[in-house]
Subunit: 262 residues, 2 copies
Amino acid sequence: MKLKAVWMVLVLLLLGTAAQAEVVTQPVPYRHEGVTLEGYLAYDDSVKGKRPGVLVVHEWWGLNDYVRKRAEQLAGTGYVAFALDMYGKGKVTTHPQEAGEWAKQIAGNVEVWGQRALAGLKVLEKDPRVDPHRIAAIGYCFGGATVQQLAFLGAPLKGVVSFHGSPLAPTEDQAKEVKAKILICHGAADPMTPPEAVQKYIAAMEKSGLDWQLIIYGGARHSFTNPDADKVGMDALKYSKSADKRSWAHMKDFFKEIFGGK
Amino acid sequence: MKLKAVWMVLVLLLLGTAAQAEVVTQPVPYRHEGVTLEGYLAYDDSVKGKRPGVLVVHEWWGLNDYVRKRAEQLAGTGYVAFALDMYGKGKVTTHPQEAGEWAKQIAGNVEVWGQRALAGLKVLEKDPRVDPHRIAAIGYCFGGATVQQLAFLGAPLKGVVSFHGSPLAPTEDQAKEVKAKILICHGAADPMTPPEAVQKYIAAMEKSGLDWQLIIYGGARHSFTNPDADKVGMDALKYSKSADKRSWAHMKDFFKEIFGGK
């Protein structure tokens, strides 16, 4: 009976730990150059002490539920995740034309683009739960390009991961600033980055001397990680369950490497 | 004291399990078309029941210590690994010219190439520890090309992984036979597969309709997984610790997917 009691205590302890692990989320307002922004913070409040932080940059749609879920997923694996806001509080759309215009407004000015992203990174860096020496940035589509820009600005990141973002090569001067390792997750059938662009990217990165990896998922189109991609009604956009799962696993491997063992 | 005793039993049980986990290896002689071959089997004898099997195909050097170590590594993670022999018992070299000739002798005749590899696969399939429905094949350099040929022959494989092997596209007829998912791990600076060949591969695979992934490791040259690569004295060949570790992790993700949870 004593043995049984010990087992029960052990089981209860284990169950208790699992039940306490709860992802807490909260909107975080902040400003950049007079623009009111609102990001989305997610973390597991059963985790004690400082831990790696992951900045999440949204697709051209803006900070929507999809990217919130990604932040929650990251929090569930023990990181502090912050989905930043590139457009302005509540500025979200489902219309490709509007999304395209908004993305262009930001990305059209490289200075604004980078600084707006840095403003989001600062929010994450200052979070008391975050180890500021272990931060990565991931991004989807427009956000994938954004995290590469962050790297080129010399942001203090251990690594960046781009999911179906345009692969960007740094200038010679930018390459000197880069601290982050770079992982590009790309769909082979993504018409927004045709084969010639991939080819050019590889050649430019080989010249850059940076630490980079490019993973090409056969058959995957643009937006392959987003289950809502098919709803848009654009042939270029399509969810791929296999490429989604694979790229997430590849990101986790990358985090293990750059964060050390986590 | 009762509690302490229970803990001690638990700890001893755990230690006991760890101590028993031992990789057993043995040479396995077999024949193909009158040629005497000798492969190398490795498994963990503390694992009970049938488990996935991994066929390992050597570089152009032949079945040497490097590929034996890979088989042992795979056995250490719970698989039954069989390093097959493409050349003939004891036929191993460290001279690139000789290695090139031997590889050409085999690969020059596609029929012999495939059948010789299938003979090795059969040895693994028949191993009583192996679940014949969960077999993958991995290969290095010449062996990477070989496992792709195996897939094109319609071999009953869940997946194939090529490390710095030439990426090969199947003919239309071959593509219909393929049962395996395909993962190509490629060094961006591998002169044996220049960028144009990579480009062609991507285009051909997109037409094939197969399940494929291509991972490109920035800066990695040919033979990037082999710590002895630098000893050869060829500029094209160089070990890369980061690309080695990354590609091994990517292979493990792939196995998790194709073998289901392992």
